[in-house]
Structures are given as C-alpha cells and as structure tokens.
Symmetry: C3
Subunit: 139 residues, 3 copies
Amino acid sequence: MRQSTKRLEISTRGKGLYEISDPVVAWVQESGLKTGLLTVFIQHTSASLTIQENADPDVIADLNDHFNRLAPEDNKLYRHTVEGPDDMPAHIRTALTGTQLAIPVIDGRLALGTWQGIYVFEHRRAGHCRSVVLHLLGE
Amino acid sequence: MRQSTKRLEISTRGKGLYEISDPVVAWVQESGLKTGLLTVFIQHTSASLTIQENADPDVIADLNDHFNRLAPEDNKLYRHTVEGPDDMPAHIRTALTGTQLAIPVIDGRLALGTWQGIYVFEHRRAGHCRSVVLHLLGE
Amino acid sequence: MRQSTKRLEISTRGKGLYEISDPVVAWVQESGLKTGLLTVFIQHTSASLTIQENADPDVIADLNDHFNRLAPEDNKLYRHTVEGPDDMPAHIRTALTGTQLAIPVIDGRLALGTWQGIYVFEHRRAGHCRSVVLHLLGE
C-alpha cells in the first residue's frame, strides 16, 4: 500500500464551475495504482468542490444561478458584510456543497460515471487562485 | 492492510430515498475487517447519497418534498430543459447532497449511529437503475 | 501503514456551530503521521459537520440563520412533527451539509487552509451530546 499527494492551483474568473477532471484523472493514471481511494480537498471557505454533469454547459450555468437564489447577495440578510455582498453567500454556498470529495480507484481508473466531471465551484465575484489538494492511497 | 471493492445496482421507482444499509453492512461484515474506512460512491449526477434517520418513514417523505421546494420543477428557472422539467432540479438536488459518503469501521462494524441509515436519493421522476460503488480499506 | 480511531463527545447548547478543530488537530499531531487521511464522522441525523471560516464569528451566526431560512420551523410544511417543530428542519439541514469530512494529512499536518475550521453544526434547539468518530490512516 502506498500514498501520494499533489497540489493543484486553479485560477477562477468569478462565480461559476471550473472543471478539473483532466489534471486529476491524469495524476491518478500516472500513479499506476490498480485499486485505491482518491481524496480531493479544497483549502477555502468561499469556493467548494462538486461532481456534476460535464455534457451540457447549460447545467453548469443553471447550477450557479440557482445557488444565487438559494443564497442571495442581499446585505440585509447578513451581519457579515465587510468583505462585500458576495462573501457571506459564498460561505453558505460552500457549506451547501462541501470542500471534499472521495472517489474510489477501480481497475486502474477513477470510478467516475460516464457523465460525471469534477468541478471547483467558485462562489466569489472576483477571480481567485484556489488551492486543491489531492491524496491518493492504494496499490 | 487490504482493500476490496464492490458494485451495487439499485433500482429506484422515481423521486425519493431508498435505503441501502443492509447490503452495505452485510458486505462490510463479510470482509472481516476490524478497523477501516468504507467509501460509498454513486456514479450519477441526478441521484445522490445521504445518511438519514431510518426510524420514521415520514422523515424520508418530508425530505423529498422539501428538496422539491429547494429546487422546484419550473422550466422558467432553467436553461437546461431538454431532458424534462425534473432533470435540472435533479442536478441541483445532487449538488446539495453529494455523491459520496465515507464511514469508518471500528471494532468490526460500520460506525453508523443508532438511527442512521444509508440512502440512495433518486431525483428523477422515472425509475432508474443506479450504480453504487463501494471501496473498503483496512485490516 | 497504520490506523487509529478516536471518539469525541461534543456538548452543544442548541442550534449553531461549534468548532472542534483544536482536539482534532491535536490528535492528528500526536499520531506522528507524515502523510495520511483523516475522516471525521458524526453519528447523528440532526447535527452535521462542516468546514467554515473561523475568523469572523458573524459568519457562523449568519450561516445558522440562513439554514433557518432554507429549512424553516413550520409544522405546516412537514408530516414529521412529533419530535417538535425543529426536528424535521434538523434532518433537512443535516442532509444539506453532511455527516462526514475527509481531510488529507501532508508533511505531518492536516491540510486545512488558513481560515478553515472544523465545526459540529447543531440543528436542534436543545443542547445535545454529539458523538464524533475520527479515523486516521497513513504512515
């Protein structure tokens, strides 16, 4: 049994979903593991991780819009407004989606379904550089 | 340290929660592991996984209803409508709940609480066959 | 490769977030692991786990308030009302946030970001004693 870790730096351009499947899948392939467990972890509280459909780009746009409805930018709703009207909604959106994913490796490949992609979900209006940590364990 | 993996095929009959605790617990028992980590992963973007109370069936019905309120079937809200009025809400409901669970194994059994059950949460109106992957690691 | 497990008992004083980073980080340090994976699991269906900003306490208060909006205490919305008006909302809030976290250990420390803290999110009005299970794996 062996482990490896890696850090990805993902540049975002404001609210929305950014697919990171390619570098993640490539890194898992390089490891040569047959069976194992991948953990993806984002080191932020205003951006999150989600697995979503990577076929129709409208899904991604609708998802972002709906999270704006679930956590509206409206300073009257929040105490924490000093970092701008999008910051407290960003924390709520992060809590609703989560900062970590675990995906098994089976038969030498990540067990993603046909339409599943791995996304960084940026919740701030401005672009950010987001740090994503990968941990892989198996043999 | 050893690993094992398994695939469950879960037939759903439309929106709602379907408990899968029994086959999951049975498979973990068979492994004979004393200490370890179970990962449950669903290979879809319109069905998800959740741990919920398995005592009162009303909880499960209310949960499904409330997710209908959080992500309503209303084509006016979404761009992605080609797969039916329930498809985009299904993606949102999946993002809100997640596609993976990790549960420790301690003293030879899954560390589920007294009232916790493992559920597939189907978000489409029609029944589907859902693929759930299990990964177990420990000794 | 080795494993260890631990149980934390967390006393809550009603709805809100309770930081547990200190005992979790201390336990991971004591293990002496260089590289590994920590899993945090809460054995309840009316309290959950989340990673959130631990800088401004207003974030935590706003987060709790917004979850009251997402899952209101309103018996007319639910069938399951026998355990009080806060019980069904507690199950919904738990489904929206989740019962488990996985955090890599890298270079001998938990890979939490600068502002990330680990929280138990209590969803019932009354205080409870919540059981949190830790599982650590690595070398």
